[in-house]
Amino acid sequence: MLNVLRRRRGDDLQAIAKTPWWETHLKYFFIAPSLALLAVMAVFPAIMSWRMAFSRVTFKLGELEIEPIGFANFTKVFSDNLIIGSTIRTGVWVLVVVSAEIVVGLIIAFLMSKLHSRARMIFTAALIIPLVLPPVSVGAGWLVMMDVNFGVLNYLLSLVGIESQLWLADDRTALPSIMLIDIWQSSMFVFILMYAGILSLPQDPYEAAAIDGASPWQIFRDVTIPLLRPTFVVVLLLRTLDAARIADRMLVMTRGGPGSSTETVTLSIYKYAFTHFNFGYASALSVMFQVVLIILATVYIRRILQA
């Protein structure tokens, strides 16, 4: 037996020795394009962004003049009222939309898991439609529907005797209106993940709870929710990062207005970069934003690993 194994091992070693070099290193050839792409598309811009964050950047014909100015771009952030306002608004946005989306997504997922399999298929297909629509198209569509004078929403309200709403035209209702649209669209993402999580839960705890005479609410609260904890953390991580980066919807629907009532951090960064062409300051803001998101993600991922 031992001899047979030795002979096989010897054959393997012989085979490896005969293998051409390119074949033994083939894996690196396969990875190389992705690595090169990553370096060009992600690593190099990230390094440039950090460099610009500590510099004043000026456009010259054929070149970017990058003059180091230390931490000036970073210290400016704390006296910039637009950024302070955008940061608070973004925080509120993340808190509200992520919480609401998790609640809505979970409820839909739970109800869906109770449905007949055919009904599940039909409803799932219908529910993911908002999810597959591009945010810019969604924003443009809702902008038309929320038009104060010609929009279908105010028309429908008028049919039931409710007066026209200003929706996006009032600084008190503009952000909540966009939040509603985001909740409508992104809850379906939460639903998909939660639904998959619910379907993959083990049945034993449910049987034990039923034997112990637990009510449906007790089962949901004390069995389903704790078992879904890892899914919750994943959803929370993905949705928080995504919600914090919101800019496209505002850009299409309100340009950050009225005034600056819907301006978020990423929209401000975009304006500083591409309207003021202040790439140094915009890079400093991006770097700070990036650091905050990395800290958040690290905390979440630790929770996932613990869970």
Binding site: L61, F150, P258, T275
Partner: protein, 492 residues
């Protein structure tokens, strides 16, 4: 056949072979023979086109026409009484087909303008269509970095102070073809927009679209009120008060754009200038927090309160819609494309009821309609300067500008077309645009205008939304503009 098992190595080899084969085939296909336009084809296209356009023109003029299009004609022979002609051409034998790429408003492919350009000049123009802001951003990055992504840049006039140093000089390019620049048929004030700072770099752009902002009003409503068209902003406020008071919610007196940045600023600027001051002075000092600026902002608040609900979040298209659906009686922020809609029976409920005027101005102040002229330039980084100049020359010819007026409602920049009886008959508002053009002034000429526009436009939007008081908005706008321009080194 029985299925054959494969080792992982064999599968990798086979996969690699297939990938190489597919890749090789694609490369070979890409290296295929390029399209060659024969002399005969060029001749046919030339003749067909000219016969079509110049049906009633004698043969001598056809010959002349061909010569001016830089096609050397050796012989023209009429075969019949009508325009069936045979042209023998020495040049452009083998004139290579050139492919250019341009962005910004160049023309509309549906009208066949790019096909016509190709058939007459052998220049194939790829039009990269982008929204306004994206056009500006991609042009600034490409032009400033000396990139060759674009051969023709179509630019809004407020961008010119930022772009001129990155563009090629038009004069030698035109002289190379034997053309005169500046073209004496083009409105000089508009041509000058392509030269910034005046005389420093020389002319860098050729105007193509003579967009002028104008004040539009409902003539039937003015008649009903028994008043003359408004001349001052006080008149506008007074008439708007009457209109909104008597006729709302069916009709409101005035409409304004409230979205922050460019929209709010574009609605605000004619009002501010109508009070006798610009948002920044010649030394780039901000001017909103001045007596005139504060009065202009007060006027904005007054007019906003007389406007249809929801103007706090409207842009260009929505403002046009409020006018052509007959919900608003006046606006000082109306552009030619919106006028066309107001004159389109399928869309508009106010056809024939809209008149165009220069912007109102308070006593002692000048009327100041804003230019929104689009100009063509050749980026320095382009590798096709001559071909780009040839295409620009071709695109800005009178017949193409006329076609653009019909297809896109792009007002021409040529005297000969502004007074063209046919155009005036088809576009009655053209006379008003011409009057507005006579008092038009560009937006403040500085490379930092986009910053000023973003900051002041945001605070004007906040005033319209009642988020900030007039005093706070003016103070904050001036402070922020000064800080931003100081950072840009504008005062050093």
């Amino acid at each position: 056949m029985l299925p054959r098992s494969m080792t992982r190595r064999q599968m990798l080899r086979a996969g690699g072979g297939v990938a190489l084969g597919v890749g090789g085939a694609a490369i070979l296909a890409a290296c295929g023979e390029t399209q060659v336009v024969t002399q005969e084809k060029i001749v046919t296209q030339q003749v067909e086109k000219i016969v079509q356009v110049e049906k009633e023109v004698p043969v001598e003029k056809v010959v002349q026409k061909i010569v001016t299009r830089e096609v050397a004609v050796e012989k023209v022979v009429t075969q019949e009484v009508e325009r069936i002609v045979t042209v023998v051409i020495e040049q452009p034998i083998g004139k290579p087909r050139v492919r250019l790429r341009g962005t910004g408003p160049l023309g509309t492919a549906e009208t066949g303008i790019f096909d016509k350009l190709l058939s007459e000049t052998q220049i194939e123009l790829d039009h990269v269509e982008q929204p306004y802001a994206a056009t500006y951003q991609s042009l600034l990055i490409n032009l400033s970095q000396g990139g060759s992504a674009y051969d023709i840049a179509s630019m809004d006039d407020p961008w010119m102070p930022q772009f001129t140093e990155f563009l090629a000089d038009i004069t030698p390019l035109y002289q190379g073809f034997g053309w005169v620049w500046p073209d004496p048929d083009m409105i000089p004030a508009i041509v000058d927009l392509g030269d910034w700072p005046p005389g420093k770099y020389g002319p860098r752009a050729v105007p193509n679209i003579g967009n002028i902002q104008s004040f539009a009003y409902r003539s039937d409503v003015m008649e009903e009120l028994g008043v003359e068209p408004p001349k001052t902003w006080d008149d506008v406020a007074e008439y708007s008060t009457k209109i909104t008071g008597d006729m709302a919610p069916d009709l409101y007196g005035y409409t304004i754009r409230g979205q922050p940045g460019n929209p709010a600023m574009t609605s605000f600027l004619p009002i501010m200038r109508g009070f006798g001051r610009d948002v920044i002075d010649g030394d780039l000092n901000p001017q909103v927090n001045t007596e005139e600026g504060l009065a202009a902002l007060d006027m904005v608040v007054t007019l906003k309160n007389l406007a249809p609900p929801g103007v706090e979040n409207i842009g260009h298209h929505e403002l046009g819609k409020l006018m052509y659906t007959g919900l608003a009686a006046m606006s000082g922020d109306v552009w030619p494309d919106q006028l066309l809609k107001m004159y389109t029976p399928d869309l508009s409920s106010v056809v024939g009821k809209i008149e165009v005027l220069p912007e109102p101005a308070q006593p002692g102040a000048d009327h100041a309609n804003m230019t929104g002229v689009w100009l063509f330039g050749v980026p320095q980084g382009s590798e096709n300067h001559e071909a780009a100049a040839e295409a620009i020359h071709w695109l800005t010819q009178a017949e193409n500008q006329k076609e653009n007026m019909y297809a896109n409602n792009w007002p021409p920049v040529r005297f000969s077309l502004m007074d063209d009886p046919g155009l005036l008959a088809d576009f009655p508002f053209l006379a008003g645009i011409k009057n507005a053009a006579s008092v038009a002034v560009p937006r403040p000429r500085t490379e930092h205008y986009s910053i000023v526009e973003e900051i002041v436009g945001r605070h004007v939007s906040a005033v319209i939304a009642e988020q900030e008081s007039v005093g706070d908005a003016a103070r904050l706008a001036d402070e922020e503009v000064r800080v931003a321009l100081e950072e840009k080194g504008a005062y050093s």
